[in-house]
């Protein structure tokens, strides 16, 4: 138990220190912006399919489930705003962060961990290269762009998927559905979800980088680190979502 607590404290402390190092190293030389663009492509474009597929099906499932059950109370006309609020404020940012984050962060851990166990990170250091600037900061900056953008798309696809399933399955009037939804949903519902996605992107990327940079034990350790990253990312997003929700509710509602 003591060893577990110690490991946990070291992990949180390590992620905290890495966060500090990243903030101190934010000023990148111009040539590193090429790396940011590369990372945006790797993180964003290559994750688009996963994010949108999850969003459209989650939107449809949530909406149809809500419709069936709210019909029992005669409240089916409010399914639109209910589904939209759930998607914009929670499901869009959280699902995108967990799915894309798991994929992106485990990839980062595998890449950096492999570099660690083959001494390539030490090689960078001996060549006088700031490895935080070279390996971590571009990924964090890319995440700041990618996660909100993916969340915007996931939100749109999720809401539209819900509307489509209401039209197909429940014969809802699309115009009325959209009107009721836009009447009840206000911009800050959308913006707080996007705000969360910014934090999720940073958290996910830092976890992936930290676990990669601290990989020990050769290829076996690399496998362990990659698995741990998926767990850490999922838990990190879910737990931080609670605190971000509390924060945003306090600040904006």
């Amino acid at each position: 138990m003591e060893a577990y607590l110690r490991r946990t404290a070291v992990w949180y402390g390590g992620v905290g220190l890495l966060t500090g190092q990243v903030f101190r190293s934010l000023a990148l030389p111009p040539k590193y912006f090429r790396l940011v663009v590369q990372e945006i492509e790797v993180m964003g474009v290559q994750s688009l399919g996963v994010a949108l597929t999850a969003a459209i099906f989650t939107g449809m499932v949530f909406t149809i489930q809500s419709a069936v059950n709210m019909a029992r109370f005669g409240a089916e006309s409010y399914v639109g705003p209910l589904a939209a609020l759930a998607i914009l404020r929670e499901l869009g940012p959280v699902l995108t962060a967990i799915l894309v984050g798991g994929k992106v962060a485990s990839g980062i851990t595998a890449e950096l961990g492999s570099m660690k166990v083959t001494e390539q990170i030490d090689a960078l250091r001996t060549l006088g290269v700031n490895y935080i600037k070279r390996l971590v900061v571009p990924r964090v900056l890319a995440a700041l762009v990618v996660f909100p953008l993916l969340t915007v798309l996931a939100d749109a696809v999720g809401v539209l998927g819900g509307m489509a399933i209401m039209f197909v399955e429940r014969g809802a009037d699309v115009y009325a559905y959209w009107n009721v939804t836009t009447y009840w949903v206000v911009p800050k519902d959308f913006l707080t979800g996007i705000g969360k996605s910014v934090f999720f992107g940073v958290i996910v990327t830092l976890i992936g980088c930290y676990n990669g940079l601290n990989t020990q034990g050769g290829t076996e350790g690399l496998g362990r680190a990659t698995t741990a990253t998926v767990v850490h990312v999922t838990m990190g997003v879910i737990v931080s979502d609670f605190f971000l929700t509390k924060l945003f509710l306090t600040l904006f509602y």
Binding site: T118, Q120, D122, A123, L127, G128, V129
Partner: protein
Amino acid sequence: MSEPVVEAVDLGKRFDSTEVLRGVSFTVSKGETLVVMGGSGAGKTVLLRLVAGLIRPDGGRLRVFGRNIEHLSEEELLPLRRRMGYVFQGAALFDSLSVRENVAYPLREHTNLGEAEITERVVRNLSLVGLSSEVLPLLPSELSGGMRKRVGIARALSVEPEMLLFDEPTGGLDPTNSKLVAELILQLRGGVCDTAIVVTHDVELAKTVGDRVAVLIDGRFGALGPVDAVLGGNDPAVQAFLAGAAR
């Protein structure tokens, strides 16, 4: 006499409960090659990593290029590291980059040279280590162990180092390649970079390239002095190590 390039006093390093180095002291002067020998796990690589600032000592004082480095931050160490070249045991080449990009890496990072000049320097460094420009497009996975080692040396030379640090330069190589690498180190001493620390358990390499040799035994230098005096002396601990190395 000029200030030593490296000056270590009473260096100590432990990992968890294992004390790897306990009070190691030595100096390396400009123009000198110090060979550090010792059995597997004796702490030779740890010593080299300390000198490069990759890890911090737990005790003692370590001056490199006239600066105490034991408390310097990573940022403060970077300019010092650009003055030394580190050749890793496994070469540690960037596996997703070609030979050309590996050797060019420090030039792209630290200079504003044009593409033509970078290529010229890459080819020159590769020729210094006995490789032709045919290897430029190859990936590290397509190279033999000896070639990887030589590309690692060429990359280290790209920073135009004042001191080279070699970690087991002949480790894992056949006798022919070992001899080639030893000759290469000698050749570098004569021109490109005259100061070096070579970590090895290869007695022949020590005799070929070393000015002085130190033998790490139980975390301390069991012997430190001119190569002939140490390797040809009658210190029982050193002789026991050499007898083991010979086997």
